[in-house]
C-alpha cells in the first residue's frame, strides 16, 4: 500500500529533516505518528500527500513510485488519498455541502450524481443540519468534522490526518477517534499524526515515533 525506503528529506540546503525513513503501511492498517514538535511529522505527511518530493529514497503509493512521477500524473494518485489538515483548509466561500463535494466535482461528477451520497455522509458525521452553512460561522468541532467528511467522501484508500484533535476538547476528540476506527473497519488505511497522548492511549493502534529525523515503530 504505502512503502517508504530510505527516504531522506531536506529543505533547501538545510539538514535532513527525515533521515533514512523506511516503513510499510499494509492495506487496511491503522497507525499513529508521533514525536516532539519539529520532529518532521508534518513533513512526512506532506511527502505522503504529494505536497513535497523527497530528497532521496523511494516512496511507493498504491504500487506507483511517486518520488519521481511527473506532475501531470499526480492528480490521479491524489484522488486515492484523503487528507485532514491541521488547519482544516476549508473554502470559506463554499457551503459545508459544496466543501465536502469538492473532491467529487473535481473528478467531473455532476451534483445529481453525488447529492444523496454527500447528504448521507454529512448526516453520518452529525452535520446534517449544517449543510448550507459557510465555514466562517462553524464552531471548531463542526469545521473539523467537515474537513473529515471532505477527506472521506471520495472513498480514499489512504486517509491522512494531521493532529486532527488539536482544536477540540477531549470529549470531542474521543468521538472523532471513533469515526476513524469506523472508517478503518470499512477498509481505509489510516495514518494519524498527533502529540495527544490521551488520544493514543484510547486506541491499541501501533505508533511510529519520529525523533531527530529517524523513525522507530512502537507496536
Amino acid at each position: 500500500m504505502v512503502r517508504f525506503e530510505n527516504v531522506g528529506l531536506r529543505y533547501g540546503m538545510g539538514p535532513e529533516v527525515l533521515r533514512d525513513v523506511s516503513f510499510l503501511l499494509e492495506d487496511g492498517s491503522f497507525h499513529f505518528l508521533t514525536g516532539p514538535s519539529g520532529a518532521g511529522k508534518t513533513s512526512l505527511l506532506r511527502l505522503l500527500f504529494l505536497a513535497q518530493r523527497p530528497t532521496r529514497g523511494l516512496i511507493s503509493l498504491f504500487g506507483h513510485d511517486v518520488a519521481s512521477m511527473p506532475r501531470s500524473r499526480l492528480p490521479a494518485i491524489r484522488r486515492g488519498i484523503g487528507v485532514v489538515f491541521q488547519e482544516f483548509k476549508l473554502l470559506d466561500h463554499l457551503t459545508v455541502f459544496d466543501n465536502v463535494a469538492l473532491p467529487l466535482r473535481v473528478r467531473g461528477m455532476r451534483p445529481d450524481m453525488f447529492r444523496t451520497d454527500v447528504v448521507e455522509l454529512l448526516d453520518w458525521v452529525g452535520l446534517g443540519e449544517r449543510i448550507n452553512a459557510y465555514p466562517p460561522v462553524l464552531s471548531g468541532g463542526e469545521k473539523q468534522r467537515t474537513a473529515i467528511a471532505r477527506a472521506v467522501v471520495g472513498r480514499p484508500r489512504l486517509l491522512l490526518a494531521d493532529e486532527p484533535t488539536g482544536n477540540v476538547d477531549p470529549q470531542l476528540g474521543r468521538r472523532l477517534l471513533r469515526l476513524f476506527t469506523e472508517l478503518n473497519k470499512l477498509g481505509t488505511t489510516i495514518l494519524i499524526a498527533t502529540h495527544d497522548f490521551h488520544l493514543m492511549e484510547q486506541s491499541k493502534a501501533p505508533k511510529f515515533v519520529l525523533e531527530d529525523g529517524e523513525m522507530t515503530a512502537v507496536p
Binding site: S72, R78, F97, L102, V106, R107, R130, N132
Partner: protein, 327 residues
C-alpha cells in the same frame, strides 16, 4: 435541547446568508463557482477592458478610413496622368489638343485619353478660386485626362519629352509629387493606427495577466486545496478562464458598441450639414470616399470576440504558468 439545536440551525443558516453576501443563492444551481470572484475586481476590470476595446475600435476604424482613402486616391492617381496645354490666343488650341491626343493614343501603355471641356476644367479650379463670373473669363489651360495601364505603364519621361516637342506649351503632370506626399502622410497615420492596435492588445494582455495573477494570488488557498483533492491543472484553469470570458465578452461588447456610436456620431457631425453652396465640406475631405458601410461596422462585432479570445487565452496561459511552479 431540540428547540435549542433547531434554533442553532436556523441561526446558522441566517447568519451564513448575512455574513457571506455573494454566493448565497448559488447552492441550488447546478455548479457553484469554485473560485470566488476575482478579488471583488469585476467592475474596474470590466471598465478597463471596455476602454481597451473602445480604443481598438477607434484604431480599427481609423485604419479602415485611411486604407480606403489611400487606395482610392492612389488607384486614381497611379492610373491617371494629366496633360496641360498652355492657352495661347494666337495658336489653334483645338489643333494642339488633337495632336496631343494622337501622340498619346499611339503610345503603348496609354489606355485612354480624353480632352476635358472648358466647363470641366473650370470645375477643377472652382474649389480653389471660388465659383463666379470671375472664373468664366480666365483663359484656363486645356486639360487632357490620360488613363495609363497599371501593368505596363508607358515611360512617362519619354512621353513628356515627345509631347513638349510636338505641342509647344504642353506639360505632362503625373501627380507624382502629390502621390508621394499623401503616401508619406497616410503612412505615418497608418503606422500610428497599427501602433495603437498593438498597444491596446498588449495592454489588454498585460491587464489580464495582472488580473489573473491577482486572482491566483488571492485564491492561493483555494488552488492549494483543489490540488490536494486531486484537481488537474486544466480544471483550475477552466475555473479562472470562465470568469475572464464573461468579463471580457461583456467589456468587448460595451467597447465595440461605444466605438460604433463614435463613428456614427463622427460621421454625422462631420458630413451631415452639406454646405449650402455645394462645396466639399471639411468632413467630406476627411472621410473622403471612405464612407462607413455595414461591412465596416461589422468590424466592431469582431472586437468583443477578439477581446474575449485574447483574455481567455492569456488567463489560461497565466494560470498554467503559475501552476507549473507548484508541485
Amino acid at each position: 435541547m431540540t428547540v435549542n439545536s433547531q434554533d442553532k440551525k436556523r441561526a446558522g443558516a441566517l447568519a451564513g446568508n448575512l455574513a457571506m453576501r455573494l454566493p448565497q443563492l448559488q447552492w441550488r444551481r447546478r455548479n457553484v463557482a469554485i473560485m470566488p470572484d476575482v478579488g471583488a475586481a469585476g467592475k474596474p476590470l470590466m471598465v478597463v477592458i471596455s476602454v481597451m476595446s473602445f480604443l481598438a475600435c477607434l484604431a480599427l476604424g481609423g485604419l479602415v478610413i485611411i486604407n480606403r482613402s489611400v487606395n482610392d486616391w492612389t488607384r486614381d492617381m497611379a492610373s491617371q496622368v494629366t496633360v496641360q496645354i498652355k492657352p495661347e490666343a494666337k495658336a489653334d488650341s483645338a489643333k494642339k489638343v488633337a495632336t496631343a491626343l494622337r501622340i498619346l493614343r499611339a503610345t503603348p501603355g496609354v489606355t485612354n485619353a480624353v480632352a476635358l471641356s472648358r466647363e470641366d476644367s473650370l470645375k477643377l479650379l472652382e474649389p480653389w478660386l471660388g465659383a463666379g463670373a470671375l472664373l468664366q473669363e480666365l483663359p484656363v489651360p486645356l486639360l487632357i485626362n490620360v488613363t495609363i495601364s497599371k501593368r505596363r505603364p508607358p515611360d512617362l519621361a519619354t512621353l513628356s519629352a515627345e509631347l513638349t516637342r510636338a505641342v509647344p506649351g504642353a506639360r505632362l503632370d503625373d501627380h507624382n509629387r502629390w502621390q508621394k506626399q499623401i503616401l508619406r502622410a497616410t503612412g505615418a497615420f497608418r503606422i500610428f493606427g497599427y501602433g495603437v492596435l498593438l498597444l491596446v492588445s498588449a495592454a489588454t494582455i498585460a491587464i489580464v495577466v495582472f488580473a489573473t495573477r491577482a486572482a491566483m494570488s488571492s485564491n492561493r488557498d483555494v488552488v492549494e486545496v483543489l490540488h490536494f483533492v486531486g484537481a488537474r491543472d486544466n480544471f483550475i484553469a477552466v475555473q479562472v478562464q470562465r470568469h475572464f470570458l464573461s468579463v471580457a465578452l461583456k467589456a468587448g461588447v460595451i467597447g465595440g458598441f461605444a466605438g460604433f456610436l463614435t463613428f456614427a456620431a463622427l460621421r454625422g457631425l462631420l458630413a451631415s450639414p452639406r454646405d449650402a453652396d455645394g462645396g466639399v465640406s471639411a468632413g467630406q475631405l476627411l472621410l473622403g470616399a471612405a464612407q462607413f458601410g455595414i461591412a465596416d461596422y461589422s468590424l466592431f462585432l469582431f472586437v468583443p470576440l477578439a477581446t474575449a479570445l485574447i483574455s481567455v487565452v492569456t488567463a489560461r496561459l497565466a494560470v498554467l504558468r503559475i501552476l507549473g511552479h507548484v508541485l
